[in-house]
Symmetry: C2
Subunit: 160 residues, 2 copies
């Protein structure tokens, strides 16, 4: 497959299904074992302007689906924008014991999701929403050990 | 794979790639031949409320990525809502000689994209935006024979 920066391979793991009705709403579940490090989904994103996000998107139901999207400004500072994820990244539910991690490709407007550990048949695929929680966290009693302050999980313990 | 209404199989055709820079912006292209009728992508959607769409989404860059999403109201009328497509449906560029068609699953909040004809290696995968064009149509001189007024293409000529 093409993998140069001019071509982005749109991998989706076939071992997943969407269940429309779960206690958390829609959710993504494993239909076969998914080994640690497997790419689950590669999603293009749309980065929102600061003004349009604050004036509009934050006031809609879509805001619950957006991600923090930090960019470096010309003066070297980091500005926290928001992005809409055009893929399953918008469907994964939250867990502090997440089994899916993501990495942003800021230059190519892509976010890639990978299995953080082996995922067994029937397990729900969850991410941690990090500091982007817009609801009461049912898992708040558990330790949030893998999540950096901007919501990116460390991938150092798996093959990526 | 699970295909009952309680489980939605999230098919993505592997024979595609995203090219970040084309004359139309980002685009999806075939990396291998895709036979007519092949499912290209199955995308969950988020249906927007009438008010939040009119007051907010229409005033943002995201509006160019939304789709008409008609629903039947209780009194039997059709109300035209808008939906955000969480998948490649948000990435296909427009052509009046489109090679990809879509069908909405209103009940399950899913939209499925299929090849309308055989698609050869290197061809861009395009849909027709129907009446949701938010820009000047470079293909306006060609005949728009396959597009119904609400933007749904007829699939009667392919195996679906």
């Amino acid at each position: 497959m093409v993998t140069s920066p001019e071509h982005i391979t749109l991998i989706r793991c076939p071992n997943i299904t969407l269940i429309p009705e779960t206690p958390k709403g829609r959710g993504i579940f494993a239909t076969a074992r998914i080994p640690a490090g497997t790419v689950i989904d590669v999603c293009p994103v749309l980065v929102l302007g600061v003004e349009e996000n604050r004036e509009h998107i934050e006031k809609t139901s879509l805001y619950h689906y957006t991600y923090n999207w930090p960019i470096k400004t010309r003066d070297g500072k980091t500005e926290k924008l928001q992005a809409v994820i055009f893929g399953l990244g918008s469907m994964f539910n939250h867990s502090r014991e997440q089994n899916v991690a993501w990495t942003r490709d800021i230059d190519h407007l892509i976010i890639t999701y990978r299995a953080l550990r082996d995922i067994e048949v029937g397990e729900e695929l969850c991410i941690s929403y990090g500091d982007h929680l817009t609801f009461v966290d049912a898992d708040a009693h558990t330790q949030d050990k893998d999540v950096a302050e901007d919501g990116i999980m460390t991938l150092s313990n798996i093959q990526v």
